[in-house]
């Protein structure tokens, strides 16, 4: 069913593009698509706080902008703190009668580096303090904006420019940092994972995160054809395969209750996903088996956390 729905997505949701076309993203950019869908889910009454990264660079260049909603970029690692100031400032001014009382959602856009590496302290602080904001991490699994350097979100075995595969190395030698779990242990009301290959699911989760009173975190896998070295026309399929192999499971953690968004009775082999991407091309069957075992194990652990399984959409 999903395969056919996807074609009609733009017709079934609002036509208004708050993330305007004409930006400078690479062809097939999964992140730009995800941001576009997220903006459709968010509507008008938002303030976007963007970390330094691909989206900031492709959507803003003095004196142009792709943003039809208020948008601010300051630095790389401080987005959650800037969002804290905006949220607290608005709340205080509304309370003091200095600002019209209206519902405005503060939404952070950041990449995996800006979230799980350099920005993790500010994010943890903002989640712990309980600010009413939505944090969207667009994870393309490396520092793509600066030229495909490894981050703590880069998967095991992937070749990047600062963890390249070579005679003595498989590339990335560490397992991907589990950022949604880190967000969830802050006991915030809402955590979810999403992928633009499942557009309705993504938009629902973004809308849900925005509607919740308190901190919400949505981790969005964003296929990067440039960095993953895959054909741009396969970006949607590769996102789908990341989910179907169990490498990137889609789930929600709502008030501590885990819920799987898609039931996968049988996982596809990880090779279905990996063979389409140049960043894994160098891997030997031994390493691929190691990855397969880890994915199966982690998916099993996740399923155990699920108190009830969601219905496939």
């Amino acid at each position: 069913m999903m395969e056919k729905y996807t074609i009609y997505v733009p017709r079934l949701v609002t036509r208004r593009e708050n993330f305007a076309p004409g930006h400078r993203a690479c062809i097939g950019c999964g992140e730009a698509l995800a941001v576009r869908l997220a903006c459709k889910a968010l509507g008008q009454n938002v303030i976007i706080v963007n970390a330094t990264g691909c989206i900031e660079i492709i959507s803003s260049q003095l004196p142009w902008t792709s943003w039809r909603v208020p948008w601010i970029h300051t630095l790389f690692e401080n987005t959650a703190a800037v969002a804290s100031g905006i949220e607290a400032g608005l709340k205080a001014m509304i309370r003091k009668g200095k600002h019209p009382a209206k519902e405005v959602k503060v939404v952070v856009i950041a990449g995996d580096g800006g979230t799980s590496d350099i920005g993790v302290q500010a994010l943890s602080g903002a989640l712990e303090r309980g600010h009413d904001f939505l944090y969207l991490c667009f994870d393309n699994e490396a520092y793509m904006n600066t030229g495909i350097q490894r981050s703590s979100a880069t998967p095991y075995g992937a070749s990047t420019t600062t963890a390249p595969a070579g005679k003595e190395s498989i590339g990335q030698v560490t397992w991907k940092k589990n950022m949604p779990a880190i967000a969830a242990v802050h006991d915030i009301p809402y955590v979810a994972t999403a992928c633009p290959s499942y557009p309705f699911d993504l938009m629902e989760k973004v809308a849900k995160g925005a509607a919740i009173d308190g901190p919400a975190y949505v981790h969005i896998l964003s296929v990067c054809p440039t960095g993953w070295r895959c054909p741009p026309d396969l970006a949607i399929r590769i996102g789908r395969l990341a989910v179907e192999t169990g490498i990137f499971p889609l789930y929600e953690v709502e008030n501590g209750q885990h819920k799987l968004s898609f039931d996968l009775p049988k996982l596809r082999p990880v090779t279905d996903y990996m063979k389409l991407q140049g960043r894994f091309r160098h891997l030997t069957p031994d390493i691929i088996n190691e990855i397969q075992s880890k994915v199966t194990e982690k998916y099993g652990e996740l399923k155990q956390k699920m108190v009830k399984t969601g219905v496939a959409k």
């Binding site: 008008q44 009454n45 938002v46 303030i47 706080v49 900031e56 660079i57 803003s60 260049q61 003095l62 004196p63 142009w64 902008t65 943003w67 039809r68 909603v69 208020p70 948008w71 601010i72 970029h73 300051t74 630095l75 690692e77 401080n78 959650a80 703190a81 800037v82 969002a83 804290s84 100031g85 905006i86 949220e87 607290a88 400032g89 608005l90 709340k91 205080a92 001014m93 309370r95 003091k96 200095k98 600002h99 209206k102 405005v104 302290q121 500010a122 943890s124 602080g125 712990e128 303090r129």
Partner: protein, 391 residues
């Protein structure tokens, strides 16, 4: 009428932020700034100040939260010191470059290593070029007067820049001084309401903080530089308005017994009051000395400095920071550069002292002045001398 109270200067700073009715305080504790932010937290907790108090997890986030608050048009205040100011460093540039007004008191502190919580100006000098307006105070009254003026200056639509008010760590922050604390009604009359012209607002979307390619970056920076220099006029306006409202007048450069004095000492911050006592003593002894105090550090008051020292033969500058491997203390370097092309100018002698909280006494200042006069006659093999260091 203002009340005369005996109060620790840090508490008075917090009381004045309350009188200014700030909307957001985002702060992280660091000695010797702590009493300021503790008292603000107390005022909020007791319902005496209606503000969002954001107890952030670092100074980097403190300044970042202030950016956000200012960008939606909130009246924004913070305070820091030493290492905290250094951790804010990159964010400070963003505040000024994005024209986000806010007020920050800096409890000036030495920098590690070795760790020192005590006062000097190393932290200030490292943030000299961040584009903030920077004002130095010599006593508690000057601190609170200038915090009031700082809100007016920062939020004026012709300025829209962040302002630092510097108070020396411990020497000012932890002193109990007699302070004239203004009435709420006086403050309300003095500080105009704040309206940022282009806040983040869904009804009128703006894009803030775009990146700039080489074709436009220089223009953006030129505009910022022109704006900071032009702010001086507005600073003078508010100092004048403050004087007329409260009877205490402030100037970019302030002089003490300096007219026609052949030998001048120049200081910045709380040491100025001890230096005045030294000048008094030396005058009584018939020595021709005077004092010049620098209040406005940025934008730098070139004209006022030139006027203040033009008749002197010797100008001795005391810095409370080192520029490692450099030509002199940072303040002295700037003074020299301001005077270099003048036809009439004094010999400029550089001293560095009072590092990491070490005091300079009245006798100490006498020694500095006498040694400065000696160097002006005999010359020195060093670019500058450090005062009071055990060899």
């Amino acid at each position: 009428m203002a009340k005369r109270v005996g109060m620790e200067v840090s508490l008075a700073v917090a009381e004045v932020a309350k009188l200014a009715n700030v909307d957001v305080v985002a702060a992280y504790p660091i000695t010797p700034q702590t009493h300021i932010v503790e008292h603000l937290a107390e005022l909020v907790a007791n319902g005496e100040l209606d503000a969002a108090y954001i107890p952030v997890e670092s100074e980097h986030s403190a300044m970042s939260a202030c950016l956000g608050a200012s960008a939606v048009g909130a009246r924004t205040f913070t305070a820091t010191a030493g290492q905290g100011l250094e951790l804010m460093h990159e964010v400070l540039y963003v505040a000024s470059s994005m024209r986000l007004p806010m007020v920050m008191t800096v409890a000036n502190r030495a920098l590690s290593s070795p760790l020192s919580v005590w006062g000097d100006h190393s932290d200030v000098m490292a943030v000299r070029d961040t584009g903030w307006i920077q004002i130095f105070a010599e006593n508690g009254q000057q601190v609170i007067d200038n915090v009031l003026c700082a809100f007016c200056i920062a939020e004026d639509q012709r300025v829209l820049l962040p302002v630092m008010v510097h108070l020396d760590g411990f020497h000012l922050t932890h002193m109990i001084e007699p302070i004239l604390l203004p009435e709420q009604s006086e403050v309300d009359r003095f500080i105009p309401p704040y309206h940022h012209p282009f806040p983040l607002d869904p009804d009128k979307p703006v894009t803030m903080g775009t990146f700039a390619p080489p074709i436009i970056y220089s223009e953006a920076k030129k505009a910022q530089e022109v704006n900071l220099r032009a702010a001086k006029k507005v600073i003078l306006e508010y100092w004048d308005k403050f004087g007329k409202s409260f009877g205490r007048y402030y100037h970019p450069v302030e002089c003490y017994l300096s007219e026609e004095a052949k030998v001048l000492l120049l200081t910045m911050g709380s040491f100025s009051e001890t230096a005045m006592a030294a000048v008094d003593k030396m005058r009584e002894e018939g020595k021709d000395v005077g004092l010049v105090r620098l209040r406005l550090w940025r934008p730098f008051p070139f004209e006022e400095i030139r006027q203040a020292v033009k008749n002197a033969e010797v100008l001795i500058v005391l810095d409370r920071a080192l520029s490692f491997g450099g030509p002199a203390g940072p303040v002295c370097s700037e003074i020299r550069s301001a005077l270099y092309n003048e036809d009439r100018k004094p010999k400029v002698i550089s001293f560095v002292g009072g590092l990491g909280g070490r005091d300079i006494t009245v006798t100490g200042f006498e020694k500095i002045i006498n040694r400065g006069i000696e160097i002006s006659q005999t010359g020195s093999e060093q670019e500058f001398e450090m005062f009071g260091v055990r060899e």
